[in-house]
Amino acid sequence: MSTLLEVSGMGKRFGGFVALDLIDLNLPEGQRLGLIGPNGSGKSTFVNCVCGTLRNETGQVRFAGQRVDALSAHERTRLGMARSFQLPRPFASLSLAENLRVPILYAANTRAESRIAQAAIPARCQEMLSLVGLADKAERLPSDLTQIEMRKLELARAMASSPRLLIADESLAGLSHAEVDEILALLIRLNEQGITVIMIEHIMRAVLAFSQRLVVLVAGRKVADGDPKDVVRDPEVVRAYLGE
């Protein structure tokens, strides 16, 4: 399996606060990676630096063999990186279907292999919405949705860009047991279609059910990386979560 995402020596500071301290991560194509860590450990900063929302100060990011540090967020999305936001950020004045149309027009259609003809776009939007169970609300506005439905919309919009790498930033928070299973099944199904997935999550049951590999961040440092069963027994991880 070839390496899809290659992060080396990534560092990011906010003033005197070190948010990320020399993070290394190699992600083979097709892997399901879980990323956990206590609040404020740098998970979202890591995602933001990988996706280009924030710029890392040290180190480099390579995606599909190409250096992407100098690229802006939209250029990285066009290469095939997609993310959902931890707090949903829908396009409030556009219908759900139109929300998905934006990444189709601006990301999927910039690559030959994922191009969708104009006439086929409505059907594609509908298909993406039905994946997350929002098909019957395609013409509604995001303001009509519940918080949980907005998280599903976030995921659908990320998927609409036909990504090679999907980063789901706490997509499961607040969902019921059944809904968690539903989204997990969806993410696993996407992964089976060849999409590499990074899942940032606090719900351990979901992380363990999903991840083939688990990475733990604590205070901006990577303290563990490996098989989920071993990682959760790692003394440093246990200390970070449960204290001394």
């Binding site: 996706c51 280009g52 929302t53 802006s72 967020a73 939209h74 250029e75 999305t77 066009r78 997609a82 993310r83 936001f85 950020r89 829908p90 396009f91 409030a92 004045s93 556009l94 219908s95 139109e98 149309r101 934006v102 990444p103 027009l105 601006y106 990301a107 910039t110 013409e139 509604r140 506005l141 009509d144 919009r157 990320a158 609409a160 860009s161």
Partner: protein
């Protein structure tokens, strides 16, 4: 409706309107019509950046004045040029000014962008007031020809026709943008810029396209103005009224659709013209100062922002 069909219908409506006015041959109708259409173009231009893309530009008069003063310069330097050519040059310069302003200010968001554009208008007014070639503070006389070229009759009719054609062009472009790839990109930027970037929208490039188009259209609105007034000075060209009207018309009509500025211009511009010439003052035995126009626009704008934030278009749009 396809864009071509829309353009055809609009042209037909405009043709009927122009022929009817020519037939009635009431010269004031052309003057009032020009005033309303000028605001229609100005409001639609403003709306591409302000309404579609969500960046509120208070520097309307800067772009309007670039169009107007380009005509003054060309009138002195190359008086043989026909007015439509002068307008194209003025519009192009205003579009370039939009591009430059965009590049310098679009890293500012929200109210900071608005303040920067307001500063642009002040800087430009100072420059023009001190530029002797265009009349400086004294102002410049631009004496229009007595009769209209091509169509004959009063020159005001020619100006009206030119503004009518400009309106068609601007409206067709604005409407075509709405449901286009560009339009969806603009809407994404307006709603959430970070999310737009994350979904692949090249936000900086799209904002530059919006500022250029918007600036160019506002320049087009201003370009024939020296011929319309016959005299131009910096105080009247940079009048706050233009900025307030350009904002008020889309806001009252509705910023989400091309129809908004049309409705707004017809309503507000029409009302202002009516107040200016009606016998209301005699009926009510009061005197209405000319500044009342600003008051009316202000009251309407506040009312709509509070009571109908989606504008008149929003009142009729089915709730989704």
């Amino acid at each position: 409706m396809r864009n071509a069909a829309f353009a055809l219908i609009l042209t037909a409506v405009a043709a009927v309107l122009f022929i009817a006015l020519r037939w009635v041959n009431y010269s004031y109708a052309f003057v009032a019509g020009y005033a309303v259409l000028q605001f229609l173009v100005l409001g639609t231009g403003w709306n591409i950046l302000g309404g579609y893309t969500g960046y509120v530009n208070f520097g309307v008069t800067a772009f309007f004045a670039i169009g107007a003063y380009t005509t003054v310069v060309l009138h002195k330097a190359a008086p043989f040029l026909p007015l439509p050519v002068m307008m194209l040059i003025g519009g192009t310069i205003a579009a370039l000014a939009g591009l430059g302003t965009g590049y310098l200010t679009l890293r500012l968001r929200g109210v900071f962008f608005s303040i920067a554009t307001l500063a642009l208008a002040v800087v430009l007014q100072t420059l023009i007031t001190n530029w002797d070639f265009v009349g400086g503070a004294r102002g410049a006389y631009v004496i229009p020809p007595r009769t209209a070229p091509l169509i004959g009759g009063d020159y005001k009719q020619y100006l009206f026709l030119i503004m009518l054609i400009t309106s068609i062009v601007v409206l067709v472009v604005a409407r075509a943008l709405e449901r286009s790839t560009l339009g969806y990109g603009f809407a994404a930027i307006r709603d959430d810029e970070a999310a737009a970037e994350a979904t692949g929208v090249p936000t900086l490039r799209l904002k530059l396209i919006a500022t250029s188009l918007s600036g160019g259209f506002m320049g087009l609105a201003g370009a024939p103005m020296p011929y319309f007034m016959g005299y131009l000075n910096s105080t009247s060209t940079f009048d706050l009224n233009y900025a307030v009207n350009a904002l008020a018309m889309p806001l009252i009509g509705g910023t989400s659709s091309w129809a908004g500025p049309v409705i707004g211009a017809a309503l507000v511009g029409g009302l202002q013209e009516w107040l200016r010439v009606s016998n209301l003052q005699e009926w009510l035995h009061i005197s209405i100062p000319s500044e009342a126009n600003v008051l009316i626009v202000g009251v309407l704008m506040v009312t709509f922002v509070i009571a109908a934030p989606q504008g008149i278009v929003g009142l009729f749009r089915k709730k989704r």
